[in-house]
Amino acid sequence: MPLVNNKVGDDSTVGKDKALADGQALVDSLIKVVACYRHLASCVGSCTDSLQLRDELRQTREKAQKLAVSTCQHLTSHLRDKSLPEDQRKEMELLWVAFSSSLELLHVDMCKVFKMGDIFSLAETGTLVQTGIQGGGSEVAARALSLPDLNQAEPPAVPAGMESQEQSTLGQEISQIDHMIDDMEMKVNVLRWMVEPHGPQYADPLSSTDSASLGLLTVDEEQPGHQPLCQRSHIFVLLMLFAIVCVAATLSVCIVLFS
């Protein structure tokens, strides 16, 4: 499966494969950072909006942009290389489509953050919407930046200056992303209708503990006080978990044996 992060495996392959793997890794991390950015962006304007959040947003955005620039260079150079074999080109094009889509998402989110930053200034905390969110996005930002945790001292409160500076920087970055997208389209011609995805139509269910408990939470919203069901579901979930762990183990053994 080409979308699996195969940094584990193929180090011994040809340079081109390595390039593919590199591109894959870059795109994957970009997708991850974009996802985290979206989560952080959803907190802007809410009651947990704070300088810290804005700071985390900035950092995440910078990381995303770095990744974007490097991915762009990497993919552009390889796709403009005429000597690329056909199947590699297909893979590259797939990566390209993924990259451009994530870039578009990033662009939207950045625009939204910019706009909301204009409307919801941190100085007037009364206008921040009470949405029910309690924690900030620190953990998400940590995931984005691939840090174990974020130890950040609260920066000194200079709201106005910092904000406007950040806004203008953000504006510039948005235009930069604009240009990048434009350049991409100019330099490389990828026919989107020719690109065929490899993956499944449905995302596979991941480990089910958290999913089940989250399901419980939302179910409880609808009908508060459904206690006995929880206990039964917990046991069921544990059993499922064991089964899945066994299956995963056997599969990994098979892969190791057959690769």
Binding site: L3, D28, I31, K32, A35, C36, R38, H39, A41, S42, C43, G45, C47, L94, V97, A98, S101, E104, L105, C111, F114, K115, M116, G126, T127, V129, Q130, T131, G132, I133, Q134, G135, G137, E139, V140, A142, R143, I174, D178, I181, E196, P197, G199, P200, Q201, Y202, A203, P205, L206, S211, L214, L216, L217, T218, D220, E221, E222, P224, H226, C230
Partner: protein
């Protein structure tokens, strides 16, 4: 530097009816103020509590207080806020209304607010659905499943990205604390309920067409701009003005008359399809139904325009006019409409035909308009355009409206129609049935099929409608694109014409053909057509009796033609027999003496005509004789003062001395 739209949309799109969004945002910011806004309370779940939940009754009370309105209006306003997506319900999340009880709501985070600039993306929707599927497989509802499959088909090239992004977002969400995760999920779900509503629900985000220019933006003051302003003001000054009492009176009258007929303002029977998803109303009120509904018939009494614009009403009116022998008015009006709205290629031809049929001196279906209008029209016809017959058309329209329309409404025929009209029963659907209806909603028939059905209907009606035999002549029998003048069928298309029965009976003149034939055979001593005429007539009689097919009639007519029987004899004999000919018998009589001498060999046989206002000089030529040209036909005309109907703008070649 511009912040551009994310989907690289180089055309701007503005949704002007969504101006309410800015205002709603202001209200919402006030509402959520912890000090002066709606009182919030924590929501207790099994594992945790989440703050900032508000109750429906608190919202309504706050709104009523803030805007000084009564609770009912505050409730509708609150429901609007929920429908737009600024507040979302925590229980029963699919119904976007405010319930005036202790049910809980929460404010939506600004990221998920509906905004003008960023249209809702299908990519995001696909990611959201994929995320939900990760959480629990098979949780997607039917419509969501369908949407998912559809998106999979249309965004196939991105699908790997979508699945990856869904997984990453899911993993990122897991990093957050549990209550925050729950809240975020509820927020996202609420967002998509607003922007991708389940079928059968009304979406508050319906905003109509998008516009290319932002109507709220300021326009730059260029010379062009000022020129436009000047033109606009000049035209405003030139506009004719009406006293406001008059115009407002007209508006009030219109509203009061049509109030009970408007399905949105008053109850419509059987049920309003927009509310109950049951389309009986529309199927009962299709353009061509056998029996109209009572409301529809009532509308015909409101104004003449209403009557004419409804095809069934028009048909009824046409029948009425036929009985009164003034159907040429309606035929003329219809042909003018045809000219106005028809294709430009055939316009000149049509105008000529109309002139020859209706307006010229000696036309077969001559209409009665005053001299001045006639002058204007004829001079305009030199260079015909679409609206050349407007003056005449208006005159005839007014004539019909003032005189015939009133008579029609009072006539027993109309009263009969009124009595026969159906008044459907009101539907009483239970909630379960309503849901069933919503599920069974299907798109309506394709317009192509609808048009075919209409054509069939029209053909059927034309076939079954009694033919006005008195109107038959070369100009009035349906030629493919000119069939509208015949007064028999509406459709200018050729499909209707084959069904035209040439020799059917009219109620008014009982079997004039047979009468003519009888008299013809009796008086047919003169001219060279005697025996042949009799035989021909006998043959013609055969098909006349029963249902006719055009070809048979044509055959008999051909024989008639060869024998060259003359119309004048028939005229003379027929006129006293038909009661409507009283006034013009003087016109018809003198034909006889000249007849035999002027029967050239190529003369085509003629049909009978008894119509009062058709001058006797007219020859009625059956449709098959198209290969004859004007000259020869003119030559074949006998009778006193029989002038060929030529358009005054054509060259006046003297047609063998008659006239």
């Amino acid at each position: 530097m511009t912040i551009r739209n994310a989907i690289r949309d180089h055309g701007q799109r503005y949704r002007p009816r969504m101006v309410c969004l800015k205002k709603a945002e202001k209200v919402l910011l006030e509402m959520q103020d912890p000090r002066t806004g709606v009182k919030s309370q924590p929501q207790r779940l099994v594992i945790t509590t989440i703050p900032h939940a508000i109750t429906g009754e608190d919202i309504i009370a706050w709104l009523a207080d803030r805007f000084q309105v009564d609770p009912q209006e505050a409730r509708s306003f609150g429901s609007m806020l929920v429908a737009l997506g600024y507040i979302y319900p925590l229980q029963d999340h699919k119904r976007l209304v405010i319930k005036p009880d202790a049910s809980l709501y929460r404010f939506q985070t600004p990221y998920f607010w509906p905004t003008q600039q960023w249209p809702v993306e299908d990519t995001d929707y696909a990611i959201y659905l994929a995320k939900r599927n990760i959480r629990k497989k098979g949780i997607l509802e039917l419509h969501e499943q369908e949407q998912y499959n559809r998106l999979h088909k249309w965004m196939n090239h991105k699908w790997d990205f979508i699945v990856m992004q869904a997984k990453e977002q899911y993993r990122a969400a897991k990093e957050r604390k549990k209550p925050d995760r729950v809240v975020f999920e509820c927020q996202e779900r609420a967002y998509w309920v607003v922007h991708r509503p389940p079928p059968g629900t009304v979406s508050g985000m319906d905003y109509g067409l998008e516009r290319r220019i932002d109507p709220n933006a300021d326009e730059t003051k260029t010379p062009d701009f000022y020129e436009r302003i000047m033109i606009f003001t000049q035209q405003s000054i030139m506009r004719p003005r009406v006293k406001s009492s008059v115009s407002i009176g007209a508006l009030v009258k219109y509203c009061t008359t049509y109030n009970s007929h408007d399905p949105f303002l008053s109850k419509c029977l059987p049920s309003n399809p927009w509310l109950t998803d049951d389309v009986t109303l529309w199927s009962l009120n299709r353009l061509y139904v056998d029996v109209p509904t009572k409301m529809r018939v009532e509308r015909w009494t409101f104004s003449f325009g209403e009557l004419l614009s409804d095809p069934i009403g028009r048909d009824g009116f046409r029948l009425f006019l036929k009985k009164e022998f003034s159907s040429e008015n309606l035929a003329f009006w219809e042909s003018c409409e045809d000219l106005k709205w028809g294709a430009a290629a055939t316009m000149k031809e049509k105008a000529q035909q109309i002139y020859k049929t209706f307006l010229a001196r000696g036309a077969p279906r001559w209409i009665n308009i005053d001299g001045k209008t006639m002058e204007i029209t004829v001079s305009g016809l030199r260079h015909p355009h679409r609206y050349v017959l407007d003056a005449a058309q208006t005159h005839i329209y007014m004539l019909m409206k003032k005189d015939k329309y009133g008579r029609y409404i009072k006539s027993p025929v109309f009263k009969d129609t009124m009595k026969k009209a159906i008044a459907p029963e009101e539907h009483k659907f239970t909630d379960a049935q309503l849901e069933q209806n919503a599920r069974n909603r299907r798109p309506s028939l394709s317009p192509i099929i609808l048009r075919q059905q209409e054509e069939e209907q029209r053909a059927k009606m034309a076939a079954s409608a009694p033919v006005d035999i008195t109107q038959l002549c070369r100009f009035t029998t349906p030629v493919p694109h000119l069939a509208v003048y015949s007064g028999i069928t509406d459709s200018p298309s050729a499909t209707a014409s084959p069904s035209l029965p040439f020799l059917a009976h009219t109620p008014a003149c009982p079997s004039p053909i047979s009468v003519a034939l009888d008299s013809n055979s009796a008086s047919e001593r003169r001219g060279e057509a005697s025996e042949g005429g009799a035989e021909g007539n006998h043959e013609a009689r055969g098909p006349a009796r029963g249902s006719v097919s055009k070809s048979r009639v044509a055959l008999s007519l051909r024989r008639l033609l060869k024998r060259g029987c003359t119309p004048s004899t028939m005229f003379a004999s027929l006129s006293p027999k038909c009661h409507s000919a009283a006034g013009t018998s003087s016109r018809i009589q003198p034909i006889s003496p000249d007849e035999p001498s002027q029967a050239p060999p190529r003369r085509i046989g003629n049909f009978f005509q008894i119509k009062v206002d058709i001058p006797p000089e007219c020859r009625i030529y059956p449709i098959e004789s198209e290969d004859e040209d004007e000259e020869s036909r003119a030559a074949s005309r006998g009778g006193v003062g029989a002038k060929e109907i030529i358009c005054p703008w054509e060259s006046l070649t003297p047609h063998n001395g008659t006239g």
